[in-house]
Symmetry: C2
Subunit: 426 residues, 2 copies
């Protein structure tokens, strides 16, 4: 049976980075740049003030202090967005606002807090045009933002392959780029299979269960920035399954849940083997052993034939979600052009004893908490692969290697963090 | 001057959790439950098989092994979604598929892999109705999923206050809940101020700069699950500012950028003080000192007067983003009903020497990497508060306390993780 790494490698080998699309920068959050961003302007466009204060020649401030202020003649005021009309010569200062261009002759800015400006302002605005007392020395370059110090003209500002976050959106805006070329988001078709399944909004006949997998899986698809396409439920008949699979033809990936075990009506893997290509079935992992991976035939938007990667996820609610995190997530990230496919992981001290009698790699659901500088993990109760509440309580998966037969309370193991972000108290 | 904690406390004291709305479960990702979810069904609805295999009485399998199999008579087959028609008595077995109800009299399931079923299947399907050889012992309860083991009827499945992730969406689907009551997402009005600003899509006259803050801030608003409402740019005139502020009247929060420094045309704080209420101005932090917090008058959708919290963010690109992470983010999370408002933080070994001559708490932009089991942080180059590229390169903010005058290379400091998720290689 394939190991987790072998199985993932086989899947990744079959998928490529998707093509690019051009979108408004605000819609590109989480997408990957498909072009180098080269600025045709300097940001800032000219030397300007980082503070509200006075433009001066720094040598004129030598020795200035609160006790022995130095007085300069104020010759002008310059605002952000304005243009200086006068030059600084020895003994003079120009009032300047944050962002305003540095007047010729000035080499630094003394901030208002180091002058008597506010006092003058309170007393009489007529004094403003007159003079200013400087209470502190300055030095060349102080409070001056240099032309191009944030973004240099004709240089590459952001490299192709960069993931777009809020700072990158801001950077693009600052150089006047309102639309950007990025790798498009994968469309993921989701199909649940099984005679026992009933749609969420329908009443539940005796012995049947609601289809929950399509929802948890669609939630994960959205969470990782992709677009779910819900195909509903296919009963356990070849005809219905084949018909539903046709609806996945224009998707970038097909996810089915159920139908991949050893049962007589586990048709999914049989139909893939017949109509498409089955790459592997079964992985040495718990939960999630009966994972199937293959390719079905589809068409791109230009009508050209293409292969659509198909992951047949196990029908058990927890197996299904764990398989998604281990295999679907990195595959989608690769298709999106992302480089870092690994789930964040940390070392944790386990607070349960775990027996591994299956010889598979176990991913048990756990609550991971930091106490006294260490991370501790305790299991979320019974780990049956149908018990979705174990997944709901968890913020991480503890990993028990296939060759480890027993992990004792107090041992250190690796854990994958499911939700290492602001939503989870860690 | 207020400390970061004092300022944040004053802001949080002025905002409340927003009211609830009812939405389809798939749209609720990241929102907070505004009701307890109590299931009116058991999941699973009856005892059922966790495996494809044979339902048996476990005592009948005692001593079974590959070398000395035990043979049972197969009396029936039961499928997922079906109903058992026969009982198990000593010496008999019923073929059973994953999810199918456990037949009366059976206490465990022997999986196909521990029987000769697949061999029979390959050889002749006629053998199926006859008998099965069992190769391994089983024990009572083995491979049986108990009624309600995942979700118990009439018990609280999910508590009010729970953040909805994919597993919670799946859980709700499994109990037939297609719509859910959650705290609604805050609408955040965003207004940039300054005569020097030009819209992103317009050509840039000499000496002017594109408005980037509105974009980085809107990106952050989206990133944390809220809804940005872009109001554009207000020039430095009282009339225009007052007019634009009116458009924020139905928002849940107003964010302005710029206009809060000491300059003559920093009108934002003056107008708030006049028309609304100014709670504080200036925080002992770097970057981000000239943060203003107040309230403006607005109306809810029923026309009732309300106060809208207004954060006046500094105009410098980096100050603006850091202020958002420190003050706006926790405020929005509180409004969304979230409990954990703290940004994830870790201890890092600093690879630069940092001087703190401002007596404020410094949040310097850094690249944080794990090497040999330790986290290291190195600054992203010049830390000028206008240099947005420093934020784009960073995945964390290193924190230098206000009373620390110098941090030496090799010292351990705290870092806030900006993007501790799959997008950043950590």
């Amino acid at each position: 049976m394939l190991s987790v790494e072998e199985a993932l490698q086989k899947i990744l080998a079959e998928v490529n980075v998707l093509e690019a699309e051009t979108v408004p920068i605000m819609e590109a959050l989480g997408q990957v740049l498909a072009e180098d961003i080269i600025s045709d302007i300097n940001v800032p466009p000219l030397d300007n003030s980082a503070m509200d204060g006075f433009a001066v020649q720094s040598k004129d401030t030598r020795g200035a202090s609160e006790k022995s202020p130095i007085t300069l003649k104020v010759t002008d005021t310059v605002l952000a967005g304005g243009t200086p009309k006068k030059e600084i010569v020895t003994g003079t200062a120009i009032r300047i606002m944050t962002g305003a261009p540095i007047p010729s002759g000035a080499d630094s800015i003394v901030q208002f807090e180091d002058t008597d400006d506010q006092k003058n302002k309170d007393a009489s605005s007529n004094q403003r045009a007159g003079q200013v007392s400087i209470f502190a020395e300055t030095r060349p370059g102080r409070n001056v933002r240099r032309t191009g110090e944030s973004i240099a003209k004709d240089k590459t500002t952001l490299k192709r392959g960069t993931v777009i976050r809020p700072a990158e959106i801001g950077l693009m805006a600052s150089i006047g780029k309102s639309r950007v070329k990025v790798i498009r988001r994968p469309v993921v078709a989701i199909l649940s299979t099984g005679d026992e399944l009933i749609e969420v909004e329908k009443p539940l006949p005796d012995g049947k269960i609601h289809d929950s997998n399509a929802y948890s899986i669609a939630g994960l698809v959205k969470r990782y920035g992709c677009i779910p396409k819900m195909l509903g439920i296919a009963r356990d008949s070849e005809k219905e399954l084949v018909k539903k699979l046709k609806q996945a033809q224009d998707a970038d990936m097909l996810l089915t849940t159920g139908g991949v075990s050893m049962g007589d009506y586990d048709l999914v893997k049989d139909i893939i083997a017949r109509d498409g290509e089955m790459v592997f079935w079964k992985v040495r992992v718990k939960p999630g052993k009966p994972l199937a991976f293959g390719k079905i035939k589809g068409r791109d938007k230009n009508g050209r034939a293409k292969n659509i990667p198909h992951l047949g996820l196990p029908g058990n609610a927890t197996s299904c979600m764990v398989s998604f995190e281990l295999f679907v997530r990195p595959t989608l990230l690769k298709m999106m052009g992302k480089q870092n496919l690994a789930k964040p992981s940390i070392d944790v001290i386990i607070e349960n004893t775990i027996i591994n009698d299956a010889g598979r790699r176990i991913y048990d659901r756990a609550i991971i908490e930091k106490r006294n500088g260490h991370y501790y993990a305790r299991l979320t109760g019974p780990q049956g692969s149908g018990i979705l509440s174990s997944m709901s309580l968890a913020n991480g998966l503890v990993v028990i290697p296939e060759e480890t037969e027993k992990v004792n309370k107090g041992d250190t193991v690796q854990a994958l963090m499911l939700d290492w972000n602001e939503e989870v108290n860690i």
